[in-house]
Symmetry: C2
Subunit: 216 residues, 2 copies
């Protein structure tokens, strides 16, 4: 299955905008949501650790859980989106690191010598890292996936809203995850824009590129 | 100017892969690099704070600075890429928050009442935030931009490598930024793949989508 409805890169990326009100009639099948995650996890991550976990909320029961810890400002998205993909970072991802690279060597995608070099270079950095360092890395990885998901969703014909306004301390536990291992990164609301209701939502602008860029 | 060379979303996103060896003959003009950043900063950020700063290194002098604090493992990219875009998070971004929303109200993109609601809801969260919290938010924002940049670069006909292996403690200072305000998030090497030299680079795989996804 391959349900890309808009393959125009320029339109997908340059015309993306945040949507707070979604068409409540527009549903997305779990098959398509799964396909979107499949395309999302092609995003890169440091050392290919893939430090992400996706909890997809597409039922009324699930949304009720979100309402218990989301800021009121973000409830329109919860109420109207076809699905909310809550992205967590996985601070334990490095514990699978040896297995991942052993598999790559077994499958002939890397030489045993190269595998040893990779493991010798990077594994000690993670094993010596503080918990805070692992949290940051996991959130950076989760954020890369979040951006890719927002674009993939648009290519599938949907709109999105990235949400960080929630009680981060309780997110993992309420959504059934180990709160030490999994750190909340961002929730992505996905659905079809309700153009009429969204009309009054502010259109954001950006600083000039010169304000944020230096050449060296 | 609009130099999108590959507008096929599926190819850009699903066939992106990390490249460690670039064709040293392939240069990218500063005009095109600037255009790529312009497209990159259309990425979303929490409260549209735009907490990112791009230092673009495309000279031998600049690369010499990178060599002084990058891990040896990542020097092939420094040596061969047409440019390295070092992305920093800006922990002071929220200090411009009031101006941004005042401007939106002045330009009629938001009502004064809505502006006041936005400022009342979010500004206190940032003003009360710890420095660590601001660092995390800035790195999340910088990571969203990083992913968008990697895809934009591919649409421009280039390949990329995301690099986090460097001495983060000295990055800002060596690249001429205030190290308290600006926190290193990721460096993106950009150029044309050297297919022959890159041949032996490991092709990474991903965990199964079922391993990283739960429905609620």
């Amino acid at each position: 299955m391959m349900t890309i409805r808009n393959n125009d890169f320029t339109d997908v990326v340059l015309n993306r905008h945040s949507v707070r009100y979604f068409d409540t009639e527009a549903k997305i099948s779990r098959e398509e949501l799964t396909e979107m995650i499949q395309q999302t996890i092609l995003a890169p991550s440091a050392c290919n650790l893939q430090p992400w976990k996706f909890v997809i909320i597409d039922t009324e029961e699930g949304k009720e859980k979100l309402r218990s810890f989301f800021l009121q400002f973000n409830l329109p998205q919860v109420d109207t989106a076809a699905a909310i993909v809550f992205i967590f970072g996985d601070t334990n991802a490095y514990k699978s690191y040896r297995d991942v690279w052993n598999k790559a060597a077994e499958e002939g995608r890397i030489s045993p010598e190269k595998r040893d070099e990779v493991l010798r270079t990077f594994l000690p950095l993670y094993e010596a890292a503080s918990y805070e360092g692992l949290v940051t890395d996991a959130k950076i990885g989760g954020s890369l996936a979040a951006m890719q998901l927002m674009l993939v969703a648009r290519a599938h014909g949907y709109d999105t809203n990235a949400i960080q306004g929630y009680n981060a301390k309780v997110a993992a536990e309420i959504l059934g995850l180990d709160p030490v291992r999994y750190v909340p990164t961002m929730a992505i609301a996905i659905g079809k824009e309700d153009v009429l209701k969204n009309k009054d939502t502010v259109k954001t602008t950006r600083y000039s590129v010169d304000d944020v860029t230096t050449f060296l």
